[in-house]
Subunit: 254 residues, 2 copies
């Protein structure tokens, strides 16, 4: 009998999040699933790791094909700890999400959901982050099930190039208009700090601005047109053209 | 009279760190300096942001050419808050460090020092991260002063291409052997979790492994040969070759 593949699942909204539970439940149809996720919400955790204090992990559930652990660390800690200490065999995939909130354009840099799969990719495992463009904590994820299973199966079967991982975002629509492979939009967050009742104390808020709204080959454009965006990312973020352009910086001065 | 440029400085080792204080002190020779840095050490903070609770900032020092704020947020929060609420005019540069510990190869993904300048770059400001390959909290930074001022002056004068920022790492040697523009080495951390006295509780540790030790065009190779590595990074981490290679993933299935 051929052993089923193993998929490691994590997220940044915490182990009780609805998006994580849907994702893990669906993936049991493709593979054995092990979930290692933060015990509380860690939105905006990016690729942060826990230095200077210990991290604990607890097995909280065991159902056929799916074992769930809760971890006091960051999303990346969860993936690192799972791979080093918890998985019974090497996972075929690392999958994170489904995040409550999109991680398109530069938002991916702040995302713990994307952090999880950055770590999966560093470890040489094909990895996919899934996010949904709504901040609602309770919502209907069923419109996205078919696309999640299609993309996950595709990667299980075809793999990804070394150093490449996928950032998948779903528009919050009842009927998806398709799937598109696209690049990150240029964008940024603006007016990010809201005042509080206390002077010199602020709360992060703001809104995202797409700096190239007309470009139809970006993740943000796809989302705004009801299309699933699949953005391949690379772990090596070297800007290759600059390697030659910056040569005059190295004139002997020491 | 021409107004002096303004440089925003931050870090992830905290506002009292020696590396930050040296850097800010040196940069006053080039520009007015405003420091906004975490009130405590935030190593491994990556691009994390504070969601769900407020962030406070306090002005703690004012010396000629240099104003210093302490902030309860992450390194990226510090840069965001500085740019939105604290700077008197738009900075010419965002500079972070000098980090106590290198941020070469994939370590940059976990680095709050690199997080600061990722944010500077998102905001359209030329940005440079400086890190030193030692974890010592007290060390002699003077061997690096000349190179810091050279690289910073070069970027002040020449700028950087849109979306590009610099990750500079210093070897921990008394006499630098040169400056080299180089790409990220492929590498990863291994054996990362140390046991504690408590079962199911672990402490992050481990060691970095360079997966291409013979390649002489990488940041890690330069550092191991006493050479300063200058690695240009790009904010757009899309893997362009995959955009066409993944087309079969988008077959109509919905």
């Amino acid at each position: 009998m051929v052993e089923r593949p193993l998929i490691l699942v994590s997220n940044d909204d915490g182990v009780q999040a609805q998006g994580l539970r849907c994702l893990a439940h669906w993936l049991v149809s493709l593979a054995d699933v092990i979930v290692v996720a933060p015990h509380e919400a860690r939105s905006g955790a990016a690729c942060s790791i826990t230095t200077g204090k210990p991290v604990s992990v607890t097995r909280i559930e065991d159902t056929p094909g799916c074992r769930i652990y809760s971890c006091t660390g960051t999303p990346v800690d969860c993936v690192k700890l799972a791979l080093d200490r918890l998985v019974p065999r090497s996972p075929a995939l690392v999958v994170s999400g489904i995040n409550h909130g999109d991680n398109a354009s530069v938002s991916l840099h702040y995302s713990g959901t994307v952090g999880c799969v950055t770590e999966g990719c560093v470890r040489g495992i094909p990895s996919i982050a899934y996010s949904l463009m709504t901040r609602e904590l309770k919502c209907d994820f069923t419109p996205y099930q078919k696309a999640v299973l299609h993309i996950t199966s595709w990667v299980l079967q075809n793999g990804l190039a070394p150093g490449v991982f996928l950032n998948v975002n779903f528009p919050h629509v009842p009927l998806l208009q398709g799937i598109r492979v696209c690049r990150m939009a240029r964008g940024r967050w603006e007016s990010e700090w809201d005042d509080t009742s206390c002077e010199d104390t602020f709360r992060l808020g703001g809104h995202f601005v797409n700096l190239e709204p007309e470009a139809d080959d970006t993740d943000y454009w796809a989302l705004q047109h009801g299309i699933v965006s699949v953005t391949p990312l690379h772990i090596d973020v070297t800007d290759t053209p600059s390697l030659s352009q910056l040569q005059s910086l190295t004139l002997p001065i020491l």
